[in-house]
């Protein structure tokens, strides 16, 4: 199923992010997905060598999850593959019955664990979206015909509502919509006010937007994100709250509550939520309960 069908039906679409391991032991990931996510999220994003750290592939992991009865979203970045490999992987996804894509430019190579690698960026999020759209129309990027019935996907992309240059991000969002993006997931939001004013402006594009949240685990993580992660800013009062009750922060409870509060505040302003739990998949049901988001099936 394509998740655009859910948006069309007016569902509040819930997704979570899972990262393939560095290695082929995937039992743990599957177990967590069944235990905590199956009844709480509509679909699972599978990251593509996230943060430029080499891991098992997104496409293969998507196929494993699909065989387990879960709905995967295949994340594809332009960092490691040129246009030939990218288009080929998109067709491979169709062959494996993977119908949901999230198309990204990708972090730079030097941010990860193979800083010596060649950064590719032959395409970017916009031209990759365009390429997928061309495949759906029956042609590759060079204009050659694709045999048989063309594939059909739900084409997603990301946007950064709390970026310090949100106008530049909105211009890019417009370019993505023009190229064929059908839904957006946002970068982690900690400032609902900024999200509201972003959504005011993003409305004009008429494309569903899922609020992105990252569970704030502890003070150190928040400070790190404030210094290093683009488009993410954890306000001081939130950091203070994490500081106050060290025991409850240690157990994760404060972060879980803060995360739920953001979803609760924002959920009437958007079309769904995308949770980046960074290993805390087990806390997702609790967060959704606190935020008043009902189970999906």
């Amino acid at each position: 199923m394509r998740i655009t069908e859910l948006f069309d039906k007016g569902e509040f679409v819930v997704t979570a992010e899972v990262g393939p391991p560095k290695g082929v032991e995937i039992d743990h990931l599957i177990k967590d997905a069944h235990e905590y996510l199956k009844t709480r999220v509509h679909a699972l994003n599978v990251t593509d060598n996230q943060s430029s750290v080499m891991r098992t592939g997104s496409l293969a992991t998507c196929k494993v999850l699909k065989d387990e009865g879960l709905l995967p979203i295949f994340q594809i970045t332009c960092r490691d593959r040129n246009r030939i490999a990218l288009q080929s992987d998109v067709l491979s996804a169709a062959l494996l019955g993977i119908e949901n894509l999230l198309l990204l430019t990708g972090d730079y190579t030097t941010l990860g664990d193979h800083p010596q690698a060649k950064p590719v960026f032959d395409l970017d999020s916009v031209s990759l979206t365009h390429a997928v759209k061309r495949l759906e129309e029956g042609f590759d990027l060079a204009g050659n015909e694709v045999d048989g019935t063309p594939p059909k996907f739900a084409k997603g992309a990301v946007v950064s509502p709390c970026s310090d240059s949100v106008d530049v991000q909105l211009a890019k969002m417009e370019a993505k919509v023009k190229a064929g993006t059908e839904y957006f997931q946002t970068q982690g939001v900690y400032e609902p006010e900024k999200f509201f004013s972003f959504m005011e402006k993003a409305k004009q594009f008429g494309v569903p937007v899922q609020l992105g949240v990252i569970i704030p685990k502890n003070v150190g993580m928040c400070r790190y994100m404030n210094a290093n992660v683009a488009g993410v800013h954890v306000p001081d009062d939130m950091i203070e709250e994490l500081k106050k009750d060290k025991e409850r922060t240690k157990s994760g409870d404060v972060g879980v509550e803060l995360c739920a509060k953001i979803i609760k505040e924002c959920k009437d302003h958007c079309d769904g939520v995308h949770i980046m739990s960074l290993g805390w998949e087990n806390r997702i049901p609790e967060i959704l309960d606190l935020a008043g988001v009902a189970p999906v099936k």
């Binding site: 970017d124 999020s125 530049v168 890019k172």
Partner: protein, 209 residues
Amino acid sequence: MLITQLKSKETIESLAKGKTFIINCHGCKEVYFAEHEADTLQKELCEAKEVAQIVTTDYICNPDNLALQLKKHKDTIEACDTILVFSCGVGIQTVADMFTDKHVYSCCDTYPLPGFQGVTPLNVDCGQCGECYLNFTGGICPITACSKSLVNGQCGGAKNGMCEVDKDMECGWERIYRKLEKLDKLDTLKYEPKVRNYWNPNEEIEDKQ
């Protein structure tokens, strides 16, 4: 060694909006410049468009030299809306840098040829991409000013206006956006998705020789 090719006549004609000042750069031995074709095309432009003046000079990639060469044309340039530049990518960017309130357009695409690059630029750089994008990006080169050489807009990595790859470097797309904003030309960013062409026809010419 570089080679510059003229953009198509239609493209160049469409760029010559309003009162237009034309700068040719012939100075540098390292750049092959299509002198004759440029001359013919500019003569036609003079008839069809409002060309205030054509200046042919050298080493416009050096900002001090450029300022000196254009000194006596200051008033004419002041009265113009558009500056068309026939030079390599570095030359165009130097002109765009100097006249931030004018529409500075590139009339050439720059390709590399084997050999070394000429005069070392001070502030700007050209990656010789072969399909100059400067006319879409406010005269700031997306190939060299953006770490990922993106041609369809900013990635999600900029923080406080700085690039995710190098925190000491201003994000090239932030600069492009601000420049176009200042020129009231943000609409030029609403182009169809661009896909780069890494196929350099001149390499084949070299191969055959």
